[in-house]
Amino acid sequence: MSRAFLILLAPFAVLGTALAHHSPVMFDQSQPVTLTGTVREFQWTNPHSYIQLVVKNAHGQDEEWNVEMAAPTYLYNLGWRPGTLKSGDAVIVTVAPLKKGGNGGLLLKATTADGKPIGRTPSVAPGATP
């Protein structure tokens, strides 16, 4: 194996599991944020679904977060449906926030206000680490 190829593999390994219609590098996966809020709108849309989540900030003011999710086809496979979330629902979400800052992030986990998971987690390939 050439030296050039060895050098090349390093960045590849970091990026290995990421793929959708755009790159996930816009999100900071190393600094997840947990938000408790109220759903204003659930967008069941392509190429991504979104939760418009109203969250109280540190000053007690309402802020709206743009929470990006997978496309409906992937969510459907995980048990989500268009009516899974409705306006006014209270939820707790964990997101990978936007690297550039602002009230946006990528959904990593969602539960109801009393902690029940929403949807299921995907099955794991034999030999893979979840």
């Binding site: 392509n46 997978a70 893979a128």
Partner: protein, 262 residues
């Protein structure tokens, strides 16, 4: 009344005397026999290990045909080109794509469906990446009639219950979806796919592309029957809120109009 009775009698007469066209009964119809000889791969299939999480990105393993996937035997010139790209675009941010393209669709997150007929097998996914695998004995079009496309030109045949596919004229995959392998238009792809159990299809793809690879590249393809889907759902890209601020992709705020139900 009398006219109605005559008309009814005529209908009964037609029904009694009408013969099925030759070859249309299940017993002697050669087309029924052709279908009966083919495997049944109906249902919806997921590439093993590539079932994404709620984020749409996380999977158990990288898709094999991702440019940054480990183990691709790139030749030295391709390595040099990739290094140059990484020097200016270290996180390999790419433009959005409306689908996955070939060969990425064969080892990707979107669920697949196989529709098998005597003349061709259709392989498609939820993003309408569509392949026609002609199994009627035809060859690829002559060179002058062939041009590279995102999904290429495929012909195939059945080797017992194994579908053997030969694909050429695939436009450089990364030109459609920038994270795809940097293969050339001259790449030659051979696939062998077989249902090994009611809920499992296995096979492999061999990619020959001296322009970008140092040797033949063999990729295992494993599919499991999807248990979370009862249909393949297609939808338009009508709410792309991905923005770009010059440095990073961002999320644009929602439009004033509701994006969709609910």
């Amino acid at each position: 009344m009398m006219r109605g009775a005559v008309f009814s009698a005529a209908l009964v007469s037609c029904a009694c005397t009408q013969q099925a066209p030759p070859g249309n009964s299940r017993v002697d119809n050669p087309r029924v026999e052709q279908f009966a000889r083919l495997p049944n791969w109906s249902g919806i299939w997921l590439a093993e290990g590539l079932e994404p999480g709620v984020d749409g990105f996380s999977m158990s393993r990288p898709p094999a045909f991702l440019v940054q996937a480990p183990g691709i035997p790139w030749n030295e010139s391709t390595v040099a080109r990739l290094q140059a790209e990484l020097a200016t675009n270290p996180e390999l941010q790419v433009k959005p794509a409306a689908g996955w393209g070939y060969p990425l669709m064969m080892d990707g997150a979107p669920p697949l469906q196989f529709v098998i007929t005597p003349e061709e097998t259709l392989i498609f996914n939820t993003y309408r990446d569509l392949r026609h695998i002609y199994t009627d004995g035809r060859a690829h079009p002559p060179e002058g009639d062939l041009w590279a496309t995102t999904w290429g030109d495929s012909v195939g045949h059945w080797d017992g219950d194994t579908l053997v596919i030969d694909t050429v004229a695939v436009r450089e995959p990364n030109k459609y979806f920038g994270v795809s392998a940097w293969l050339s238009d001259q790449a030659h792809y051979t696939e062998r796919l077989r249902m090994v159990a009611p809920d499992r299809i296995e096979g492999e793809m061999t990619v020959v592309d001296p322009a970008t690879l140092s040797r033949d590249w063999v990729v295992k393809l494993n599919y499991k029957r999807a248990d979370g889907f009862d249909r393949l759902i297609h939808d338009a890209y009508d709410n792309d809120r991905t923005g770009f601020d010059g440095d990073f992709y961002t999320i644009k705020p929602p439009s004033a109009e509701p994006a969709a139900a609910p």
